[in-house]
Amino acid sequence: MSAKRAKYGMVIDVDRCTGCGACMIACAAENNVPPGPADSTDRTGITLMRIYRADNGKDFPENESVFFPVSCQQCDHHPPCVSVCPQNAVEVDAATGIVAQIPVRCLGCRYCMAACPYHARYFNWWDPVWPEGMERELNPDVSLRMRGVVEKCNLCFHRLQTAREKAAAEGRAEIIAGEYVPACVEACPAAAITFGDLLDEESEVHRLSQRGESFRLLERLGTGPKVYYTSEREWVRALAEKDPASTPGRTAATD
């Protein structure tokens, strides 16, 4: 509907992120992600948006840490998951640049998960089950995914649809910037996430993404993520490209 080509992306100010998890919960509630059963773990759960804690690798008391909210990085250039899917269940929307999983076509081979350098794809290891009655509180705009398929963040594409419908109802050809924001962006209490059209040179997200303090994860792979991070801290920026072997690795949050 929208004639203009857009490239939606976000800039996450990791200096602001306190790892409160609001984005993760907002995302799960918005996208009808079921709560993991009792035997799920951080390796089998579904967190389309997930916050990782990273640190500077030093010991107490010099240790400093940072929280990285990582959802699908919305690779702009040859997304690794698109080319590996044997049955075209991952599609890139040309009009918005959104990389979207089509769970109904997914057979659950999980090759895309192996291909994703950001571990941003999640498999439905269990049937989606909510406690009795809770399924009535699910978001009617988002369909459920069944067991055995892969899912990931699609930048709350349904919200874009809603915004477009609203624009159309009001006789506008284009949606207004700010009419469409993903749930995580909306939920962040620290306003750490800026979302918008990276092609729109007047947008805040464009401005922030062009700053020297902005970086993307694993840029060396050439996948061109549309999710930018920004930090004033040198060591944090260095994390993006750092050889995982040279850092002691991720630390689980322990508070």
């Binding site: 059963p37 773990t41 390796r43 990285f68 590996v84 057979l107 081979c109 571990h119 792979l221």
Partner: protein
């Protein structure tokens, strides 16, 4: 072998088979939460199994290629056995793949909406076609059973199927080249995993070619190994010494070529591919237990040493040495498949990522053993009731 003894030998395998069936039933009805795979280890021991058995089953295509295309008639002595092994390996692999995917009922979507850029599409298309080929190749062996042969239709069918064998061998070779390669490509294209990623020759990463060669190396070794094992168990001479020697020469020289190419590839990867990504190649080997030994073992212990033994010891060494060397070659290929699947996934990709290991659940292991038991049983039945080794009768004189 008396029937009673045969049955008693089959009982443990049948039990394994039943346990495996139960595990598979659990996985299909309750979902893959029955496994210990996770979002990081999206591929687990089953993919390792698939890659391994398909490599070991490569003996079918390679022997077929040598017999029907290259007209090496000596190898007719093992072609039937090779076909059965291939059939077992491929059907086992496909069976496990069907359990491994989350939505088996949608497996055919790959044919319906194929993404030709995916190595997995290539693999799926090729192995299904090749399984069809192997089934057609296996059919005459079954039809040739003395009892079945009495039925005129079966006899005629067997005869006619035999006549189209060279065509099928040709198609099989073509398919095998592609899917063995694609299985290598499967991991070689993963730019996300610099450990597995390889630069391309034409549209395929180098692992594509390495997998073809390594499969060609594993196939004959595995045939040598199985033939020897079966002949020990059945206490029969199944093939002549010259066939052993020829197999040994083949399963020595191809691994040698493979080891050479693999070394070149590893050096290129260490000194070119990985540094270009801003990483240090050796850093992948810092994570215990997958330290540098794994590379050493794969290339030297399981590659160079056995292939040299097989080539130069072919005529001189005792059969035990040849078989041990062949076993080492097979281990080398298995280790390679393990490294490509499990080690690749265990290594972190991001700085705030962790090195992870995983332990397969009993369901995964049982399903794995199901394929092994299935293979043993099918092979044993085939050996007992079909003529797997044409030379057997001739040589069966202590």
């Amino acid at each position: 072998m008396p029937f009673g003894k045969f049955v008693s030998l089959m009982i443990p395998w049948t039990i394994l088979l039943l346990i495996g069936m139960y595990a598979i039933f659990l996985c299909l009805t309750k979902g893959l939460n029955q496994t210990n795979m996770d979002n990081r280890f999206a591929f687990g021991v089953w993919i390792f199994l698939d890659l391994s058995v398909i490599a070991l089953g490569a003996g079918a295509f390679f022997t077929g290629f040598l017999v029907y295309i290259m007209k090496r008639d000596e190898l007719r002595a093992v072609i039937n056995s090779a076909v059965v092994l291939g059939f077992i390996c491929y059907s086992g692999a496909i069976l496990i793949l069907m359990v491994d995917v989350g939505q088996p009922l949608r497996a055919w979507f790959t044919f319906w909406h194929p993404n030709i850029h995916s190595m997995l599409t290539e693999v799926t298309f090729c192995i299904t076609c090749y399984l069809a080929v192997l089934s057609v190749e296996y059919a005459p062996l079954v039809l040739k059973n003395k009892k079945l042969k009495e039925i005129p239709a079966f006899l005629a069918m067997e005869y006619e199927l035999h006549r189209i064998m060279p065509v099928l061998a040709g198609v099989g070779t073509f398919l095998s080249f592609f899917h063995q390669g694609s299985l290598g490509g499967l991991f070689g294209v993963l730019q996300a995993h610099p450990f597995a990623f390889r630069e391309g020759l034409a549209i395929w990463p180098t692992t594509f070619f390495l997998f073809i060669i390594s499969a060609a190396a594993a196939g004959p070794s595995f045939i040598l190994l199985t033939t020897w094992i079966v002949s020990r168990i059945s206490r029969k001479r199944l093939v002549s010494e010259s066939v052993y020697t020829l197999l040994a020469r083949i399963s020595g020289s191809i691994p040698l070529v493979y080891v050479l190419l693999k070394s070149i590839d590893t050096f290129t990867w260490l000194n070119r591919t990985v540094p270009q990504m801003g990483l240090s190649g050796m850093s992948f080997f810092l994570w215990a237990p997958f330290n540098i030994w794994i590379l050493f073992v794969e290339i030297i212990v399981f590659g160079l040493i056995p292939s040299l033994l097989l080539i130069f010891g072919g005529g001189r060494l005792r059969a035990g040495w040849l078989v041990a060397s062949a076993a080492l070659v097979c281990c080398g290929i298995l280790l390679n498949r393990f490294v490509m699947t499990i080690q690749t996934l265990s290594l972190p990709t991001m700085a705030f990522d962790r090195f992870m290991l995983y332990t397969p659940s009993w369901q995964e292991i049982s399903a794995f053993l199901f394929v092994v038991a299935y293979g043993v049983i099918i092979y044993s039945l085939s050996f007992r009731y079909l003529r797997l080794f044409p030379q057997e009768t001739e040589l069966d004189r202590n």
